[in-house]
Amino acid sequence: MTDFPQIFGGHWPGVLAATVAIMGFITVNALMLIWLERKVSARIQRRYGPTEVGPFGLLQTLMDVVKLIGKELVTPDHVHRPLYLIAPVLVFAPLLALLSLIPIDEGWIFHDYDIALVLLLAFSSLNIIGIFAAGWGSNNKYALLGAVRAVAQNISYEIPLLLAVIPIVIMTRSLSLHEIASAQAAYPFILVQPLAAIIYFIAGTAETNRAPFDIPEAESELVAGFHTEYSGMRFGVFFLAEFTHMVIICSVATILFLGGWHGPLLPGWLWFFLKVYGLILVMMWFRWTFPRLRFDQLMSFAWMILVPLALVNLLVTTVVLKL
């Protein structure tokens, strides 16, 4: 294996360089995704979307970010200051670590841990602490409601998410993302695990708080949910985190079910990104098509439908593998 981490080594300068690279990717990626989201929604709704800044309005989000950065950071009087200030950081920080775990192509990975999948699931649950800190620290009823909903939702949907991942782990006998992806050279696992793939994708959409599961920030009832009181770039960081989280969920889905970088003709990394952004497009398509579920329906959907289905799937997988 040509070790990508060798380029940076295990040393501090390497870690720094990796961090910078990931930060750069996160920023550019979020800018493009926001543009894409706006274009997709516009086309679905038979509008044009951004057209003015740059070709096809590509630079529109850059301008928006410049505006957000230029804005005064307002800290309302009534907030719990430490929590309020640290919340955006808490939401954003775990995502940096997560991106470093994703193999983009054969050997293109910063750190190929043996337990990468566990690490990934653990880290991706961390940002809920940030969301709750934002809701609690804002000292605002809407924000608090949004935060409470977010916590309940994320905890509920972790379970089907995990249950959908376990069959893959059983099949490959590995927790390393790189190895799981490599194992799919012949065929992607979605062909043998379609149910797990669907459950993973639904639960993943819920994990990222995207529509139709966007109840923590349900704008029609909770104004803006947990980030009601945030403005300027603090709000921007929440936004950045949401889009990065989307990339992570879709990357993992690609690795687990869609065969990672495997594909004919095109180079591996290109296949990988094609699959990831294809999934992201589907998520956007969801968002602009469906109404939002109610909170209790969301919970019962997780516990009454997704968890039993995932359990049955797990059972069937183990039985079949044992035979």
Partner: protein
């Protein structure tokens, strides 16, 4: 008796809290404020506080002569301004016993029904928006825009039409208008199928609306509900049928009723069906549009209804809209009471909301199709 809330929250009960929904809130459709008493996400009490959009239409009516109130009439409810505008004209014609030429009557019906469809479309869009679906909102607006273009071509305005006059209408329709209207009808019949696919059949949409916010038949008499809210509860009452005004008795249409006992989904199906019935009326009206004048020959220059009370009701897009005009024989009314349907529908909220979830509040408010300025007048 509706349980009313104390003005000071009960600080001793740490499990419950008060939430001011509005006056600035994305889903109150204007500046409505509802004080919600909540336990977690469950609503224990609701107290709508209105008046933020109060524009004193009734006081204005007492300070103007009858003709000068005309532009106000469509501003009472700006989403179905045509219906309200024509209703005021019809009320005055009714009071001074002025006959309207047949052509003007049919034109009024076409415009009124187009306006009803546009109002229902806006309701559909905002209601799905309240439930979190953004796209049907813009599809609804797109079709509504087509109606506004058609109405714009004869009235010159897009929202607050001042199209009716006592004794007729201001401008005659031309062939272009008739062609566009019938084209729209053909198009919209197909389009409604698309809305059904995208919205009505959607499982999430059904989950959010079925058995939610039941405004049942026992509230009907208490509150004198009207319009789609009443019909969703199962009573086939339509002012256009019970007291046909303005020539509605010439047309053949059905009054849809709800099948599920008056929940949000019933109100949805009733409105969808009403749009189809409106299309039916327009089709018939286009086929039978007579020639002739569009203004009555003898319209008195000074409108002086005989002294006494005059009540005139129409079926607006939201329900029974009544005008209670008390005249003393001069050209300025003593009192011009506007009995608006949203006012009645929102006054049921303290009874309907308790026991539902916070997200349902938004759905229920959306489903009864409130227009806040119409509540406040």
């Amino acid at each position: 008796m509706a349980e009313t809330m104390e003005l000071v929250p009960d600080a001793t009960d740490p499990k419950t809290y008060y939430l001011n929904m509005g006056p600035q809130h994305p889903s109150t459709h204007g500046v409505l404020r509802i004080r919600l008493h909540l336990e977690g996400e469950r609503i224990l009490g609701a107290d709508p506080i209105i008046g933020y959009g109060h524009r004193a239409h009734e006081k204005m009516a007492e300070n103007r002569d009858y003709l000068q109130f005309l532009p106000n009439s469509s501003r009472v409810d700006y989403l179905s301004g045509m219906i309200y505008n024509l209703a005021y004209c019809q009320a005055i014609e009714h009071a001074i016993e002025l006959d309207v030429p047949e052509r003007a009557e049919v034109i009024r019906i076409i415009c009124g029904e187009l306006n009803r469809i546009s109002s229902h479309l806006l309701w559909l869009g905002t209601f799905v928006l309240d439930l979190g679906g953004f796209t049907p909102f813009l599809y609804g607006f797109d079709d509504r825009e087509k109606i506004l273009d058609i109405l714009d071509s004869i009235t010159g305005s897009r929202l607050t039409y001042c199209y009716g006059r006592f004794g007729g209408v201001t401008m005659d329709v031309d062939d272009e208008f008739l062609r566009r209207t019938s084209d729209f009808c053909d198009y919209f019949k197909r389009r409604l199928g698309e809305f059904d696919e995208l919205v009505t059949d959607n499982v999430i949409y059904q989950q959010r609306t079925k058995d939610v916010g039941v405004i049942s038949s026992d509230l009907i008499q208490d509150y004198a509900l009207s319009g789609p809210v009443l019909r969703a509860a199962g009573v086939a009452h339509d002012v256009r049928k019970t007291e046909p005004y303005g020539g509605y008795d010439r047309f053949d249409f059905d009054v849809p009723v709800g099948q599920r006992g008056g929940d949000c989904f019933d109100r949805h199906t009733v409105r969808m069906e009403e749009m189809r019935q409106s299309l039916r009326i327009i089709d018939q009206a286009l086929a039978c549009l007579p020639d002739g004048p569009i203004m009555a020959a003898k319209v008195p220059k000074r409108i002086r209804p005989p002294a006494g009370d005059h009540y005139f009701a129409v079926e607006s897009a939201r329900g029974h809209f009544g005008m209670f005009i008390t005249s003393d024989g001069t050209d300025i009314p003593v009192r011009h009471k506007l009995r608006t349907p949203s006012f009645v529908n929102v006054s049921t909220m303290p009874v309907v909301l308790p026991g539902t979830m916070l997200a349902d509040t938004v759905a229920i408010l959306g489903s009864i199709d409130i227009v806040v300025p119409e509540i406040d007048r």
